[in-house]
Amino acid sequence: MIRLQTEPLDVGALTAAFCAGRSETGAVATFIGLARAEGGATKVLELEAYSGFTEKRIAEMVEEARTRFGLHDVSVVHRIGPVAPGEAVVFVATAAAHRREALEACDHLMDYLKSRAPFWKKEHGPDGERWIEPTGKDLADAKRWDQ
């Protein structure tokens, strides 16, 4: 499942649904990205996507991960619009026969989402707003997976 939504992510329900009804999946890994308050510097995070294009690009990343790690299933649910500190921005879940594949696929998908998925993030703080761009580390992290 790939979904963008303006409503808060119910990470409990997403996790329960992702794990349900599997008899040959030994490993489920999930990653949940939360908006940080940064000690009061971030009041709200605002996320913009390019409807249609964003889902298509995520689907390509998911397809690559599915093949590369032999996954049984993948979910990516991403929040858009304003997000308050402590709320989930992204939920990624991967299912595989064994733990290493599930965990590496989660790592891989998050690295790609951080620097290659069509989202734009603006931080609103007490001193104004700023756009967040991928850091040098984010770009290097994503490069780890390139052949």
């Binding site: 298509k56 991403h78 921005v89 989402l113 951080k114 290659r116 069509p118 756009w131 761009e133």
Partner: protein, 80 residues
């Protein structure tokens, strides 16, 4: 033809979507036309890491725009 600006490009221009009655011949002509109206936007469009999607496909280099419905300018992306 629809022109879409995302992230800080939309803030620089003060708009995020605009419909052009007559599509420019190619991407260079589109950039020139946007820069003519708004030099700050023109500069931002050629900034580091700005990508272009034509009809929701990432495009590198030049591209004719005949028959194109949508061009989007995408500054550096960051999800998660």
């Amino acid at each position: 033809m629809r022109v879409l600006l995302f992230g800080r490009l939309g803030d620089v221009a003060g708009w995020r979507e605009r419909v052009l009655a007559t599509p420019p011949v190619d991407l260079s002509a589109l950039r020139d036309s946007l820069a003519g109206d708004d030099p700050a936007l023109g500069e931002a469009l050629t900034g580091p890491g700005v990508q272009v999607a034509v009809d929701q496909e990432l495009t590198r280099g030049e591209r004719m725009l005949a028959g194109v419905a949508e061009v989007a300018f995408l500054p550096p992306m960051s999800g998660g």
